[in-house]
Amino acid sequence: MRVLLGLVAGALLVACGGCWDRLEPDRLASVIALGLDRGEHLPVRVTAQLSIPRLLAGGGGRDGGGGQGPQPPFDNRVAEGRGVFEAMRVLQEQSSRVIHLGHLQVVVVSEQVARTGLAPLLDYLTSEREARRVVEMAVSSCPPRDLLDVPTKLESLPGTAIAERLRQVPTTMGLPESSIIRFLNALHDEGIEPFLPVVHRVDATGEIVDRPPEAREERGRKAQDRGGPEGGGGQGRPAADRGVAQGGDDVIRVAGVAVFKDDRMVGTLNELEARGLAWLMGRLERGILVIPADLAGGGPALLYVRRVEAKFEPRLDGGRPTMQVRLKVRADVAEWLAPTYDLTTAEADRLEQAAARVIADEIMATVRRLQKEFHSDVCGFGWTFYRRYPRVWRQDLGPRWDRVFADLPVQLQVKVHVASAFFGWRSPGGPWR
């Protein structure tokens, strides 16, 4: 009996040890970031940023902390293949260690590749057991290879810097995080299309440097023609309604949104249009809304958005679909560069109306562009129709939603409630003191 139990225990020990899957940490090459681009010789070029723990230890960064000299603590490996899987296999053949995706933080895809479709990449990432579903995804306006090679001051690895910027997207842009699972959800859900944030290389003033100057000017002119401030979504200059950075910590900026139709990118929303999308999603809390001086009266006002509630009400009027959007916004006056600091009821009313107008303009500019230019329902109007009228959706609306969405009448109602950021209606630092 004891012999039998001993044999069983021995067999369990041997098998549970995982002889076939033994993987020592010091034999792994951890991929922090993946870049996907068109190759020079083959359709897919993968750039994998491998961290070098030896150089990361002791707080070493690009300056080689820990006495390791100027060598950066990462190594960008590039491989080409007919698909992502093949390119990764080539990368493995180049490496003395096992390529490990368990620590992958971000996947950056070039605009060129995004326009041909992300299905092969998603297939690879979902079938690859090591990669987690919380890995961030983004579209880059420059080749990802260039983005993954930029020097960063606060982070040791450019991949980490990009991932951290993308994790801040819910706060900075008011949009949902850009993880793989969220992209897949939007891809699978009825009546909604996915989108991803766009990552740029910028200089210390926030100027986007990934396009030639003439292209930037051209795009900036187009943005002006559309009535929006330029610069946000890769238009070359900082937006008119935002501050200008000086001596930024690094040269990566997330601005604008890449709009998809199924898995293919169809266009880009600039920074202002992305904010229109954020309003629609009811997520622009803790954001800043700038009311121009001519609307606010006296001087420009900065409103700190505390709460946003967006409600979609789909309707079928005689079989014709219409969408009513109701938006409720609560905001505080964070800064008002007016001659007087007193926020009287009349002035609050004026600010509320002005804010509602600004918000409505931002939203409608976005909706118009999505409807007329991209034919992509990233705001999820179709999803609400699907849930409210499932049978009608299945039989009529769903199959032809692209065309329906393009001509969908959208009625927008914005209500803004403005309050003082202080306990009273007067600023403690105001001139009345």
Partner: protein
């Protein structure tokens, strides 16, 4: 000596002069929960979502209704033919020949579910942890530990079940808040937009898993009273259903029905997207695997014990322990049969084979109960009494 061994192995013949193992209500509840939950929580959501679309969560809830008749059936049979396991109940109620045939059908159904459990566990370990390890090795380990558990007897397995039950309960309390940031209740709607078909199909598949508490019939003699058996079955079913359903709702609300149906193990996949615990825990799915391992091992140990017990009683043997290793070996072999690809396993086994096997088991118990109700069998000898009625042999534990 032999009697003592038989007692340890839970192989004593109740009411025939041999002491039998006894399990309490809480142990029975934990044991019943371990019967279906480990596999159901991993593989059932994908099939339910594929069959039920948005209605899957309703179908799974609807399937919970099957628990009530199954629990009542177990209690009623134990009341009619007390202090015996299913094989003895069947032979007593239906006669030796027919009773053995019916019992053999029950044992066969149990073996199908056991082989499925071993294979499902092996696939889970292979997919999540040991991708390069051959499946036969993992199946072997699972079958071996099942044999070890069964060798030590039902009471040991039952106590292990309580520990696993409590551990998994604590894990769920930790894990469930992680879903909240991703959860969107709108993904659970619209319901019944495709009519009752998807709802009923998903309910049928789910019932195949929740109905597996019927397996408790094999250890009916170990419960103190029929009421405790019934209560254990109902409580176990309710616990399995509540946790399994909650995880399914959270997964569907986080990834949508299509996302859930797309992966082999949706709960694990969704948990791989949980950010709630970053940077404390990067791999929350490891906790799920730990929980499954605890309950899955108990499940397989119980199934090996039940099969060994069933085979031994069919063979007329008193001690079931000599049958433990052959049964475990047979299970290992049976678990290697079937498609090598996991989607094939899911589609063919989870969707068809498991509900079919569970249905056969419930039907078998119903037949035995019906016969016993129509023609009540002679009651077995009192517990602890010798055949000649001269006194007790041992003490029940």
């Amino acid at each position: 000596m032999r009697a003592a061994r038989a007692e340890r192995a839970g192989g004593g013949v109740p009411g025939r002069g041999q002491p039998r193992p006894q399990i309490s209500l809480s142990e029975g509840t934990a044991l019943g929960t371990c019967l279906a939950w480990p596999v159901a929580v991993l593989y059932l959501p994908a099939v339910v979502a594929a069959e039920g679309r948005e209605d899957g969560w309703l179908g799974m809830l609807l399937a919970g209704l099957v628990l009530i008749p199954v629990g009542l059936l177990l209690g009623a049979l134990a009341h009619r033919v007390p202090r015996l396991g299913l094989v003895d109940q069947a032979t007593l109620a239906l006669g030796k020949a027919l009773g053995r045939v019916v019992a053999a059908v029950f044992v066969l159904g149990t073996s199908v579910l056991a082989a499925y459990a071993v294979r499902a566990g092996a696939e889970m370990v292979r997919l999540l942890m040991l991708p390069r390890t051959p499946p036969w090795v993992i199946s072997l380990v699972i079958a071996l530990q099942g044999a070890v558990g069964a060798w030590f007897g039902l009471e040991v397995v039952a106590r292990a079940a309580v520990m696993a039950f409590l551990s998994v309960g604590a894990l769920l309390l930790v894990l469930i808040p992680g879903f909240i940031p991703m959860f969107d209740a709108r993904r659970l709607f619209p319901v019944l937009s495709y009519g009752p078909g998807p709802l009923l199909r998903s309910a049928a598949v789910s019932a195949g898993f929740w109905g597996q508490v019927v397996l408790l019939a094999m250890s009916a003699e170990s419960f103190r009273t029929p009421a405790e058996l019934r209560a254990s079955a109902l409580r176990a079913g309710a616990a399995s259903l509540a946790t399994g359903w909650l995880l399914f709702v959270l997964a569907q609300g986080s990834a949508g029905w299509y996302g859930v149906s797309e992966f082999a193990m949706p709960n694990v996949e969704v948990m791989r997207a949980v950010r709630f615990y970053l940077p404390l825990f990067e791999r929350v799915d490891v906790l799920v695997v730990t929980g499954w391992t605890a309950m899955g091992f108990v499940q397989v140990a119980w199934l090996v014990w039940a099969l060994a017990r069933g085979v031994s009683r069919l063979a007329g043997a008193v001690d079931s322990r000599p049958f433990v290793v052959p049964v475990a070996a047979a299970l290992w072999g049976a678990s290697l049969v079937g498609p090598e690809d996991l989607p094939g396993l899911l589609l063919r086994w989870t969707r068809v084979l498991v509900p079919l096997a569970t249905g056969v088991l419930v039907l078998t118990v119903a037949v035995v109960w019906l016969t016993a109700a129509v023609r009540p069998p002679a009651p077995p000898a009192p517990r602890g009494a010798r055949r000649d009625g001269t006194g007790a042999v041992g003490q029940d534990r």
